[in-house]
Amino acid sequence: MASAATERASTTFRSSIDHENGLVDRAIFSDQAIYKAELEQIFSRAWLFMCHESQIPNAGDFFQTYMGEEKVIVVRSRDRSVEVMLNACRHRGATVCRAHSGNTPNFICAYHGWTYDLSGNLIGVPGMNELYERKLDRSEWGLKKAAKVSSYRGFIFATLDESAPSLEVFLGNAGRYMIDNLANYGEIEVIPGIIRHRLRANWKLAMENDQDYYHVGITHASALDAWGVARTTVNKNYWDDNVGDLVLGEFGHVQDTIPGHFHANIFPHMCIFTDLLQAVVVRHPKGPAEVEQWYFSFVDKNASEVQKREVIRRNISRLGPTGMIEQDDGENWEFCTEGAASSAMRDVPFNYQMGIGKGEMDDGSAVGFPLLRGGPRTTEEYARWQLRCWAEWMDAESWPALLEKHSNPAVI
């Protein structure tokens, strides 16, 4: 039986997001058909952050990650180039790499033994003479690769879509600025210890929380209490002294400009924390109601031991399932995800009305990208913009169509 949401899904996603009035169809956070469409329209198209160059310095180093739900291996090959390959044997699809990361001379499928080199070439087929009579053309059966791989300041990205524009175009000046904020700490590298954590929440609810300054004083009250920060002080900072510039990037990238709280999102699934923290969070979707969050912490190679220690201490105290801040976020997203699945309230939208119409769009000739200036920094405009862009990804029939039709923040 097709739900109302599924029927809407087959028409237009733009109608699920009322940017002007701040109303959002709750089905986008719970509907299975919409989720399947997201995997096709967003995760199979967008440039996705894979890992940082510092994680795979030597030939044979690999890091396993996902593109949507697709398992991929990011490998430093013999010629030092970076390959992103689907972690699925070309014979019958079995996984060829079973570790999160490591070093290997090749990838051997444990089912029938097809063996691939670091560039994904099929170099070994048991029974090539006896069983295949040398008729199998190995050059046709290498591991499938991502369509494009590129890196910006050490951050490796890949896309599954041949027709995707360059990484530079996808990021735009705004997206590059967001990465620069982290890359500018120096010669940065990932500190060993990548935290992986699953939540029963829709990935977009995690995404939109990164710039949600409304919840801080409430959700995180016990952490603030433990640290001796009065809630009134927190709310004063976010509410009374509440003017800021918002970066609204093309394709849904957003960032706030609150000093001490640079929280950026490269759409769809890379969150960058800078200033107070030095971290990247990646959110792999696992279904409409499940997400796996990965936390990468970064430090300048040349920082003093004391500085490194301080960065690590700050990240550990706040991030991940044990972080005193993030301990309390996940449960909320899980409850919201449950609420999004309500059939009794199927036609009752979520409220995204905070700060509508506030601030002036500045074309950004001074900084190189548009800014929403002079409005509140505690606002739902970040999320309204992300979801408006989400709908454009979902409605576009191809990358060229998205390029042509997507909203330009400078003229909204």
Partner: protein, 169 residues
Amino acid sequence: MFLNAELCHEVEQFLYMEAALLDEHRYTEWFELFTEDCHYWMPVRQTRLARQEDAEFSQQGEIAFFDEGRAELEKRVRKLESPYAWGQSPAPRTRHMCTNVRIAEVHDDEITVNCNFLFYRCSLEVEEDYFVGRREDVLRKVDQGFRIARRTILLDQTVITAKNMNHFF
């Protein structure tokens, strides 16, 4: 190494008493069991290839789930006891179990104890989490029994499947 049964018994009883404090939410009393110079550490684990298991865990000084001295531990206790600790409202039912207790080393007043643990947490209606792993504790003998000088928690999961880990192990 000669181990007397009485010491083994005392150590086990101490670990059971400590677990009971956690399950009864008596966090301040639990915290008092730690020495001034204590270190409470849970490194991050990842899945590695065979023969690369020595690189499973993050090292001291790298990223960890917990890397706490007494001051950091105390903040976590204060957080759990805050009236705004939504995760404790209502408090989950928890059960800390430790088994396979083995004394690995006795050195002056310090005793190194290994055990396996199973920590069960049942929240709200039907939310259940199991945390399983191995612990290495260094206990220090004091007049009234023992104090915990070091605790290393080695979880068996490489991907955490609980919504958070806001409790102690």
